[in-house]
């Protein structure tokens, strides 16, 4: 029988550990098997099942860009049994990875358009993949604006990359923290993400908005975008529900008849309108 066991993970070596924020780490992972590394392909928006042997599997996006070959990265918060098992691993350790799963951001269709990225807190990782993908193919897109907010300065992830994006002349980078989350050195905005979006967003004309954040942030950002003139097919997001298999069988991530793991995780607002919001 030539069928592959879907649940058998790739073995990965943790090549690099970056501490992003309290409890939040980024791992750079390399395939231990060269043939597997060679054959592996993914696109921006996809996710995987990451495993700590002895603890189990957890679902995160692939946070690195497909334009950066030879490795994948994931960013996660130490918040449960598996993630705390993962967080206790060190550089050089072995962990498991299954994927890539799910659909992708239609970046080909976005050629020649302005991109507006809106992210909150720990939801920057899925967007970081798209941001680097767009920046590595910079000539394909017009203006790129990034609005990123977190509760406090400490909670901002990818701090060195935020600075790098901010220093680039071809990116408009806006960082913000919730009122009270600033410190003495803070030079960014102070205010909730939707408010800042309203203040700094480019014209909706020829622009795609990619929104990713906690449900409350998304809920308040959509009306702002609507007010700015964005149509539902100009707004994209990526959803997350609890998952086990990642391949449409275990039965828990569905929203109405759609599986986030198969039909998502990427949805346009136009598609979101057709599925029940209470199930995500």
């Amino acid at each position: 029988m030539s069928e592959q066991n879907t649940y058998l993970p790739y073995l990965m070596t943790i090549e690099k550990v970056i501490k992003e924020a309290p409890g939040v780490k980024t791992y750079r992972l390399k395939f231990q098997d060269e043939a597997e590394a060679e054959a592996f392909e993914f696109k921006a928006g996809q996710f995987g099942e990451y495993s700590a042997f002895g603890e189990g599997e957890s679902t995160f996006c692939i946070a690195s860009s497909p334009t950066r070959k030879g490795y994948i990265e994931c960013t996660f918060r130490d918040s449960g049994r598996v993630t705390s098992g993962l967080a206790s691993l060190e550089e050089g350790s072995t962990m498991g990875f299954r994927g890539p799963y799910g659909n992708v951001f239609p970046m080909e269709e976005w050629k020649g358009k302005n991109l507006l990225f809106i992210a909150g807190g720990i939801a920057l990782p899925p967007m970081r993949c798209v941001i680097w993908n767009a920046l590595d193919l910079r000539e394909n897109f017009k203006d790129i604006t990034i609005v990123y907010g977190a509760k406090t300065v400490n909670d901002l992830v990818y701090k060195s990359e935020l600075k790098e994006w901010s220093d680039r002349p071809d990116v408009k980078m806006v960082t913000t923290v919730d009122p009270g989350g600033e410190n003495a050195d803070w030079k960014g905005e102070i205010g909730f993400v939707p408010t800042i979006v309203e203040k700094v967003a480019p014209s909706a004309e020829n622009t795609i908005a990619i929104v990713c954040g906690p449900p409350i942030m998304i809920k308040f950002t959509f009306p702002v975008l609507e007010k700015l003139g964005f149509k539902d097919d100009q707004i994209y997001t990526t959803l997350e529900n609890r998952m086990k298999c990642g391949v449409g069988k275990c039965g828990r991530c569905n929203v109405g008849k759609l599986y986030i793991c198969k039909d998502g995780p990427v949805f346009s607002k136009e598609e979101l309108n057709l599925i029940p919001a209470e199930e995500y």
Binding site: L8, R242, K244, G248, G251, K257, P276
Partner: protein, 336 residues
């Protein structure tokens, strides 16, 4: 397909030949009043007078807990041992009801609709199904409402219809069925021209599936879910006895440097099924979980997999400690 006659003595001889071939044989056994599929060696062990086994035969092709792979950590490295399809023994299921055999189709649809499931398929390939058509039913049975019938042959390799003389009409339905006949071909005689339908229980349909489907397409926000599920305990018994429920969990069984990753049955009725780490739960209330159960089986599966997630076996109604009767509930949705 070929139809034969097998006499009373022939049935026992053939059964013994199957056992003697070294295949595992599972059949309904009455253990202290509860009838369930168990390994058997003699025909006399097989239960006679009952309507339905408590558990379906689902576990034979989708075990309650199955090792997906095992691993060992050695000097900072990890060695994986893949699931071996050859480790699955040849199995014959004897005296399966048509509603159980019919459950194989929706199960396989779930496991193979996108990526093929190596484990499920390994069990399917090694499993042969000898079903017995139904001469009796009870008030929970409703196969005829969900595209089935007491003589439905879907999922069966051979179907026997018992005759008053103790013999049976034998429908040989697949190459696997032919292989079973080949173990003792001499007991299979020429068809006597008896009509199978004469010996099947008469079970009028209780609802129209297409009507239910049309109603469900507009029922997501209905108050019916709350009304119907107010007494639901969320115990998951319905899912565990169901021949088509396939939702699972993946768990780790680790001991020191060695461990196994295991797929275990789960149930959409459990409160933790969809609980996020953050505490957010998209299906927080039992009514939302009950809705998911019904919509998944009667709306999402028909639309996406072209198969109904219910065979009308009635087990969920029989097993429910608070009488959540699926037949009553579906019938009332159809009438809305």
């Amino acid at each position: 397909m070929e139809t034969k006659y097998i006499g009373k003595d022939g049935i026992e001889k053939w059964f013994n030949a199957i056992v003697a071939s070294g295949k595992r044989v599972f059949a309904p056994v009455n253990a202290r009043g509860q009838v369930d599929f168990k390994p058997v060696k003699k025909l006399s062990e097989v239960a006679g007078d009952y309507i339905q086994t408590t558990q379906s035969i689902k576990a034979s092709v989708y075990p309650k807990a199955e090792v997906l792979f095992s691993y060992e950590k050695v000097n900072g490295k990890v060695n994986l041992t893949d699931f071996d399809p050859e480790s699955v023994p040849e199995t014959v299921l004897w005296k399966v009801h048509p509603c159980d055999a019919a459950g194989f189709k929706p199960l396989s649809a779930i496991f193979n609709w996108d990526t093929a499931d190596k484990l499920h398929n390994a069990h399917l390939i090694k499993t042969s199904v000898i079903s017995f058509s139904c001469a009796a039913a009870d008030e929970s049975c409703f196969c005829t409402s969900v595209n089935g019938s007491p003589g439905n042959t879907s999922g069966s390799d051979i179907q026997l219809t018992m005759l008053p003389d103790g013999g049976a009409i034998a429908e040989i339905l697949s190459p696997k069925g032919e292989a079973l006949v080949a173990l003792l071909p001499s007991v299979f005689e020429a068809d006597k021209g008896e009509k199978k339908e004469k010996y099947l229980v008469d079970l009028p349909a209780r609802f129209n599936l297409e009507e239910v489907n049309a109603k469900l397409n507009k029922a997501f926000d209905s108050t019916v879910w709350k009304e119907q599920s107010e007494r639901c305990l969320g115990c998951g018994a319905c899912a565990f006895v169901c021949p088509t429920c396939a939702c699972f969990d993946i768990q780790e069984d680790a001991h020191g440097s060695k461990g196994r990753r295991i797929r275990c049955w789960d149930a959409c009725g459990f409160a933790m099924f969809t609980l996020h780490t953050s505490g957010h739960n998209p299906r927080e209330h039992q009514s939302q979980r009950w809705r998911q159960r019904i919509l998944h089986k009667f709306s999402y599966m028909p639309e996406r997999l072209s198969v109904v997630g219910c065979t009308g076996c009635g087990r969920c109604s029989r097993a429910c400690p608070v009488d959540m009767n699926i037949l009553e509930h579906i019938t009332s949705i159809a009438k809305q």
